[in-house]
């Protein structure tokens, strides 16, 4: 039983003001924060992009995907292999990584897409592990085994090489902003509503004319392509990739980011990603207990706000006039 919480109704000007304030904060942040915190900001961006992708699958359609790190890994390794072995410019590989991750998602999710709830969850965990183990086992000498691949070239754009933390900070946040905008457009369209119909009641959705299979696959493909892009930027920033970066724990953290923020909420997911990255940073002084606090905070959130910290408020979205 879900408990009902009073919903705040925030007027539109206030919301716009908030949006601009957060944009101003994000843009100005690297100019007054230390290098260390700019890097933290970069990781918030990476997790925001991963979270937004997972949010489509988990939040919008309600498919329990606990193997999302696999698509992140596929994006990162696509970039690494094509750049180091074939010399393709790193930034040009951004769409390629997205497409390869999306293609893999389509291939692996096609046979399992009809599974429900916990069954799908278990299969996605297995997929995540399979990808990681394949990378470790170095098939055909392509993935470099446990050591991964080193020496990824720095990306450049219009003759400017992206090298400093500030450069990378802006690269990832521009991507996050573009993706968030695109997803918002989708969310408030026929496609987004159909995703939510499936989440709410799959049988009723099918009976109302929603092509359940096609829309679930679309969600997986979009979610994975965002993870693929995150993989590309991550590989470019680290200048190396290794299987250790793409563990089950990472999939869990993305899952937590979506749950914490509010399933199906775009600002919520970005907020959730920020919490997931910032919490361990803030609690560094109590180093050995920080994961304990993290777990407690998570449990408390789910208990007191089961819909997430920043849920989507649907009742506000259609300001319709009298007929």
């Amino acid at each position: 039983m879900r408990r009902k919480f009073p919903t705040l109704t925030i007027p539109r000007p206030a919301r716009l003001a908030f949006l601009f304030a957060s944009l101003a904060f994000l843009v100005s942040f690297p100019f007054w924060a230390s290098r260390y915190w700019v890097d933290v900001g970069f990781y918030v961006g990476i997790y925001a992009l991963l979270g937004l992708g997972l949010n489509v699958i988990l939040g919008e359609v309600g498919l329990f995907n606990l193997g999302h790190a696999a698509f992140w890994a596929i994006g990162a390794y696509t970039t690494a292999i094509l750049n180091v072995r074939f010399g393709v410019p790193t930034l040009a590989l951004l769409p390629v990584s997205a497409l390869v991750a999306a293609g893999c998602a389509w291939l692996v999710s096609s046979p399992i897409i009809h599974l429900r709830g916990d069954y799908l969850c278990i299969v996605t965990i297995a997929l995540g592990e399979i990808v990681r183990l394949v990378l470790i086992n170095n098939p055909g000498g392509f993935t470099g085994g446990p050591n991964g691949i080193v020496g990824i070239a720095r990306p450049f754009i219009f003759g400017h090489t992206i090298r400093t933390p500030i450069d990378f900070y802006f690269l990832i946040w521009v991507l996050v902003a573009l993706c968030a905008f695109g997803l918002r457009q989708l969310q408030r369209s026929r496609i987004g509503r159909a995703w939510n119909y499936i989440r709410e009641d799959e049988i009723a959705a099918a009976a109302m004319g929603v092509d359940v299979r096609a829309l679930k696959l679309l969600a997986f493909v979009i979610g994975a392509s965002l993870a693929g892009m995150a993989g590309n930027v991550f590989a470019a920033k680290m200048r190396m990739v290794s299987p250790d970066s793409f563990t089950f724990m990472e999939s869990c953290l993305m899952f937590v980011a979506v749950l914490l923020g509010g399933m199906g909420s775009i600002p919520g997911t970005i907020f959730g990603a920020a919490l997931v990255v910032l919490f361990p940073e803030i609690f560094r002084p109590v180093a050995q207990y920080r994961m304990l606090f993290f777990g407690l905070a998570l449990a408390a959130t789910m208990y007191f706000r089961p819909g997430g910290l920043w849920p989507r408020r649907r009742t506000m979205e259609f300001a319709t006039k009298e007929p």
Binding site: I191, R193, A194, E200, A204, A207, R314, F318
Partner: protein, 263 residues
Amino acid sequence: MKDGEAILETKGITKRFRGLVAVDRFDIGVREKTIHSLIGPNGAGKTTVFNVITGIYRPEEGQVLFEGQLLNGLKPHQILARGIARTFQNPRLFRNMTCLENVMAGAHAHGRAGMWSSIFRIPHQRREEREILERAEFWLEKVGLWRFRNELARNIPYGAQKLLELARALASRPKVLLLDEPTCGLNESEKETMMNFIGSLPQMGLTILLVEHNMNVVMGLSDLITVMNYGKKIAEGTPEEIYNNPVVIEAYLGRSEGYAVAS
């Protein structure tokens, strides 16, 4: 069976669940712009017939024909697009979405906009969205739920939920509407509203196949009644004929001692 007139027909459909034969070589022909009721004791297989027609179940045998075309093997969303919509016995609403969004679901199948046109809001997509919204508003108003348009479906009263499901089905512009116990769980005045509304649908060009336990509703609305028991058709006729049919009375009461179906 009056062939040629039937818009929706089943021919010898059989649906088995392991050993249990839920529907056994069942025929029904629903004529255009009529209200055709399907009645029978609990567990007779009425809802299974609905699920077979709408493609949720696949029949082991038999055919489902709609406007003379075979529906077997089509998926539920394809069957809706052909013009058959349904409601469920217990409302299966999209509970955490607003009433307006629920009704918009009905218009989904008639939209074409895909991923890119939705992201870039091309003119065609905008026009389509406006049409979906207008159609949803029209039906929401028609069933008298305009005041709930921005409420979440789970927060509105049960009677309103039943009406909302009906509006959702109607927004898909169906030719045939399958209603599974539309008055079940409603109070007397809500029943009245629902009955009048259903009764007005054939004039709008709709054909209704109705499953219902409330005999006042069935007798008052139906043009034709089909009675089933143990998955088989046991009688068919006008309300008058069914009312006096000893086989029907026996099916409901076990033996013929008058007519006393709960209403």
